[in-house]
């Protein structure tokens, strides 16, 4: 199983954002360093651009993606992936998640049930374009060097 590490702060900030977004889906990017494993040190919220069905769908505007790539370059970080919530639904990828999934990105899904965090999982595509779960661990590194 592939491994992805998060700081407590990154997890807390992500959970806080997604609880506040409930009952809508919240979304954002996370950043860190990709070496032997992925180490995530920072998350940044992004507005869910889906206004017709935000309880079930999230969309990130293209210009927000451009800004995310720029932020990573300017701060000497790697853009590692995307997080989003599944309100009152399990933390497993849906067919829609798979349809839009990018190779090499990590996808963190947080299940929010009745306004509270119920589960958090991380996924990535394998060579066959299927989601496989990544093992999630904690790291104490607040800021990682190259």
């Amino acid at each position: 199983m592939k491994e992805v590490k998060f700081t407590d702060q990154a997890i807390e900030e992500m959970h806080k954002h997604l609880v506040a977004s409930y009952p809508h889906e919240g979304c954002g990017f996370f950043y860190g360093k990709i070496g032997d494993r992925k180490e995530i040190v920072e998350i940044r919220e992004v507005e869910n651009q889906n206004k017709t069905n935000p309880e079930r769908i999230f969309e990130i505007a293209p210009i927000d993606y451009v800004k995310a790539e720029r932020y990573a370059i300017e701060n000497d970080l790697d853009l590692i992936g995307v997080y989003h919530s599944h309100p009152d639904h399990p933390a497993v990828p849906s067919a829609t998640d798979l349809k839009f999934a990018q190779p090499n990105f990590s996808y963190v899904i947080v299940s929010i049930v009745k306004g509270e965090v119920a589960a958090t999982s991380s996924w990535t595509l394998n060579e066959a374009n299927k989601f496989i779960q990544e093992q999630r661990r904690k790291t104490n590194n607040k800021r990682l060097k190259n």
């Binding site: 293209p62 451009v66 790539e69 370059i73 995307v82 090499n104 996808y107």
Partner: protein, 92 residues
């Protein structure tokens, strides 16, 4: 030369190269030049009809090429193109 910023998910196919410079005169030619330099990225940029994939957006600076001249948009020496994958999903 114009510069193409490669999105992080596709850098695996460019040997982790984050950008690519080209003398191409249009957006489409620039994308073809990128695919010629890194053949593994081809299928992620173009569909079977050699059209730029539906799920990709291309920005010239901060402008979507769809509000310019689309794939035929001309490039100048200091232009910066960004390839943007569609980022979406949800429990649906």
């Amino acid at each position: 030369m114009a510069k193409i910023i490669i999105p992080t998910p596709l850098r695996k196919f460019t040997g982790n190269q984050a950008s690519f410079e080209t003398n191409s005169e249009t957006v489409y030619d620039a994308m073809e030049a990128l695919a010629a330099a890194f053949p593994e990225i081809q299928k992620h940029l173009f569909d079977d009809q050699s059209q730029i994939r539906n799920f990709l957006r291309i920005y010239l600076g901060d402008e979507d090429i769809n509000v310019l001249d689309k794939e035929k948009t001309s490039l100048k020496a200091d232009d910066v193109l960004s390839i943007i994958p569609a980022i979406a999903g949800g429990k649906n």
